[in-house]
């Protein structure tokens, strides 16, 4: 019995060591979203093109990406071509023009192509608040049941898309 007890410190050391080792790789900037596993919060937003009021019921019935962007956001310029490429592959993207102006947004999409199935105006950022957005670009993956499965802060690009893609079918 005493001999077994002697190994307890070593076991604790190995246990702590492996926990710390695993945590080393973790991205310390990653903040979990409070919305994972929930449905998209209630909203009423204006469509950039049709000026109609859009509500939850008008969202796609398949899986899709909600992408927050703005013409004021430098990283969104970098992200945009990749979103265009995704849209061409058949990925449904709903754009939320976050704290931006409609005229500037239309110009931007005219110039750079429009990857969005729909663009909704969130001029005051209220919908962004309801989703717990911290800035732009920021994207939420919604599965075919309308449940948010993933949140990505920052630019979606070829290297992180493989990881993000999985959540579309979750």
């Amino acid at each position: 019995m005493a001999r077994v007890l002697r190994f307890i410190p070593l076991l604790i050391f190995i246990g702590l060591g492996s926990v710390f080792y695993v945590q080393l790789d973790k991205n310390s900037q990653y903040v979990p979203s409070a919305l994972i596993g929930k449905t998209v919060p209630e909203f009423t937003l204006v469509d950039l093109y049709s000026n109609e009021l859009i509500r939850n019921a008008d969202l796609p019935k398949t899986s899709y990406i909600i992408n927050f962007w703005g013409t004021w956001c430098p990283a969104c310029h970098i992200e945009h071509p990749f979103l265009v490429a995704l849209a061409k592959q058949g990925v449904t993207i709903i754009g939320i023009d976050y704290k931006d102006e409609a005229v500037a947004a239309r110009e931007w999409l005219e110039e750079k192509q429009n990857p969005y199935q729909r663009v909704l105006m969130d001029e005051l950022g209220d919908f962004g608040l309801d989703l717990g957005v911290t800035g732009a670009p920021e994207s939420f993956i919604v599965n075919a049941h309308g449940v948010i499965t993933y949140r990505h802060q920052g630019v979606i690009n070829a290297s992180n898309w493989q990881e993000i893609k999985r959540y579309l079918n979750e």
Binding site: S28, V31, P32, A34, K99, G132, V133, T134, G135
Partner: protein, 139 residues
């Protein structure tokens, strides 16, 4: 007064002024109680973008928005708890600088005391055993 101390005091005065200016961005409070509650809340809530700053200290866009939201909710006669619940529902418990007491944080709060207790018990057992051993040897 030595020069270093002087410098620190000047710095303090500067930062104090900055904080005050930030708090006075847009709002005029309907009562001084509201202002006190506002100051307290923005110091207790963490900025979701900048990780190690509270809402009061951060200049990021989202912190400005959230300060405004806190202001509006206070003026809209919401209780502190309602405001905190609102933030947690959107940004998770991450936004609380004062973590809640629940099952997941239980180990963090009380783990060290439990470990200390175990250590103490082990310490006394070892002492007791070596004493009784010594006693046997002496007799």
């Amino acid at each position: 007064m030595n020069r270093g101390l002087c410098f620190i005091l000047v710095c303090c005065a500067f930062f104090a002024f900055q904080l005050k200016a930030e708090a006075g961005d847009w709002q005029s409070f309907s009562s001084s109680l509201h202002e006190t509650r506002y100051q307290h809340l923005i110091e207790e809530l963490r900025c979701p973008k900048c990780l190690n700053q509270n809402l009061a200290d951060s200049t990021s866009g989202i912190a400005v928005d959230l300060r405004h939201q806190v202001y509006q909710m206070i003026e809209g006669d919401k209780t502190d708890q309602e405001i905190i619940d609102y933030m947690v529902a959107r940004y998770g418990e991450f936004v609380l600088y004062r973590p809640v007491n629940n099952l997941t944080t239980y180990a963090l709060w009380y783990g060290p005391f439990i470990l200390l207790l175990i250590g103490g018990v082990a310490f006394f057992l070892v002492i007791k055993r070596s004493r009784s051993r010594q006693g046997r040897r002496d007799s």
